[in-house]
Symmetry: none
Subunit: 215 residues, 4 copies
């Protein structure tokens, strides 16, 4: 057998759960893994704990996952794509409100996943997983970039900024919201940050016009 046999993203499941009870157990394990990874960190959580938190025996864990790394991968697979932002139609929205709402939603999703707290640790130790994450980030980045390019074609974004850099900046700032809220403490910062992001994208006069359009 090749050492690389599980180089598809998540590897083969020890068994493909087809029945309802099985699926429930697998879900319980995923959820317990997520909760414990967030609470105590990836490294500090072991398979036994995940199993017992999910109300199953240690051995059962290994029926559904080869190890906690695979469970982690499944979590990521399930959820990373949920972070893709929607494609906005700039002429229909108030960009500041739009970004503020987006940031809040993004923050809530990040918080629900919670994984952003453990990811950095994992990326270092698990290059395969790092790739999965990088891929997801590239998608997000690309999605933002496309929006910006569309907007530029409409002549509504700064002409002198590198859109790739701008979209990357938006992504980074969005990702760091949880940290900002922790560091600065103010729960209503979304609109402030939304304003900052809008400045990166729209010249003030354009922004004013867009707001008027909306109303």
């Amino acid at each position: 057998m090749s050492e690389h046999e599980d180089e598809q993203l998540v590897g083969e499941y020890p068994s493909l759960p087809k029945q309802k009870r099985s699926q429930q157990k697998r879900d319980a394990l995923l959820e317990s893994g997520r909760a414990l990874f967030i609470e105590k960190g990836y490294e500090q959580t072991n398979a036994k704990e995940i199993a017992s938190h999910a109300g199953v025996a240690t051995g059962t864990f290994y029926r559904y996952f080869t190890d906690k790394r695979q469970l982690m991968m499944s979590l990521l697979e399930d959820q990373l794509e949920k972070l893709l932002p929607p494609e906005p139609n700039w002429t229909n929205v108030d960009p500041e409100s739009f970004f503020a709402t987006l940031l809040e939603q993004h923050y809530k999703r990040l918080n629900r996943l919670g994984l952003h707290r453990v990811l950095p640790e994992l990326l270092l130790k698990d290059p395969q997983l790092a790739e999965v994450v990088a891929e997801a980030r590239k998608k997000i980045h690309a999605r933002i970039l496309v929006s910006l390019k569309n907007a530029r074609e409409q002549g509504i974004v700064w002409a002198d900024l590198d859109l790739d850099t701008v979209s990357w900046s938006i992504m980074v700032l969005s990702d760091k919201i949880p940290e900002k809220l922790t560091e600065c403490g103010n729960q209503a910062d979304y609109s402030k940050l939304a304003k900052v992001i809008c400045r990166l994208v729209f010249p003030p006069d354009v922004l004013k016009q867009l707001k008027l359009n909306k109303k």
Copy 2:
């Protein structure tokens, strides 16, 4: 040298090395710790490896540090403050070049430290250390904020943005440079990012004026 000179934040060392050879060993251990933490991750590195990488016996490690956590703390203490940005005089510099240079320096420092790759992992598991880091970040944030406030008094920054949010954004974007360079691959992105940051701070006409002043 006073016996108490480094009894601050990190607690007492198992032994305060007084002799030159000792200091060399301690330094070798610190450097090995740094290198291995960066290379393999904090969790994946153990005291034995650090010692052997530094060319000393396992026991010697414990002569100088109570455990690898303390070594980590020492690394941070030694180096976090080196990340403080200088206080700029906006009327004397071309802001874009200034930021580009700053970003490049910051990137090089981060890379030299390398610790940014292991920090996230640690912050989760070690609240005491998290505090040290948060403190350092607050200092950096504050330093940037002060610069911006001075600039605002000179009427040279956007009047409608929250400076706290702007300075936080600058810090976050700076910190993520290593990641950007990895993700996007382009080593000459500093000026692009510098432009983006300048847009957050200076209205375009002000910026043009500042550039002229410089010349």
Copy 3:
């Protein structure tokens, strides 16, 4: 069986063994611990040895005991009270034979426990355990004292001796039998020591009378 039945003095076990096989392993570990403590001394025995002597893996030891100290405590708990002497009815027994038999039994019990050889070492290093042992000794002392007091009320013991001191002396001499047999080598010394003890308790004429009563 109640889950709480042995949560007394020794604290909770890492796991309360419920199954028969488990109980067997736990017992095997206890027995191995006892044997090795006696053979090599407490300090000289480690968990790995106890486990391998019991035919289980090191980790299994830690499933049943937090450390060897707890195993020691369990041994003591199980067995100290077995050393309590029976309450004699002086008018029904030949005191010399009674004591001789008692001494022999006590000796055999001590030998079976074997712990008397390691106890002194432990008492110094483990005050909690020292308390357990002191408590047991106090019970034994008290039991002897009660017997003597009853006998004195019947007017059959020396009137001029301090009964507390006498009962303490009996306890001490009994405890040292193993040492005496080692030092002096004579296995049939029980009756000699019994005579000595009888002299501490009964005036010769009373003793003669008691012997007659018996016959």
Copy 4:
């Protein structure tokens, strides 16, 4: 070199200290060893601590002793023989006062040595040392036995007791004084125990006569 080269009692000294400074250091080490053995137990004390308590470097310890075992042996050699009781002249003393005084002195010596607290631990792990101690005890036992035999020739001890057992009992009870004082707390128990011991030796009428002789 033979593995048995130090089978004389204490082994060869790494160096025979002839000079005053050396002798002082050696004494300081012995005293520190004694103090720490008593305070923390033999096993719990290490060479480094003994050295530092004596105000010398670790290496110096090994100049004077091959290891802490040898230091222990030296302590015993120096002091065990001090425990030999004096030869009494029964016709000249009040036996009860004599024994009471003897017990008190013995107790004080034991306490000064303090070693009785660590001996049991050692005897088990170090048969060579056990022999040294057994030898010393035999001497003490013999000394008491001789006294008793002399007394018996004068017809002043019980005729029906085994003198060997009686002398052994006296030794054991004497050795346990520290424990009795701890267990029972009464510092003035010497005379009570002296009475008990006298009962083992002298018939009451003889004792009365001896007391009269004294006066």
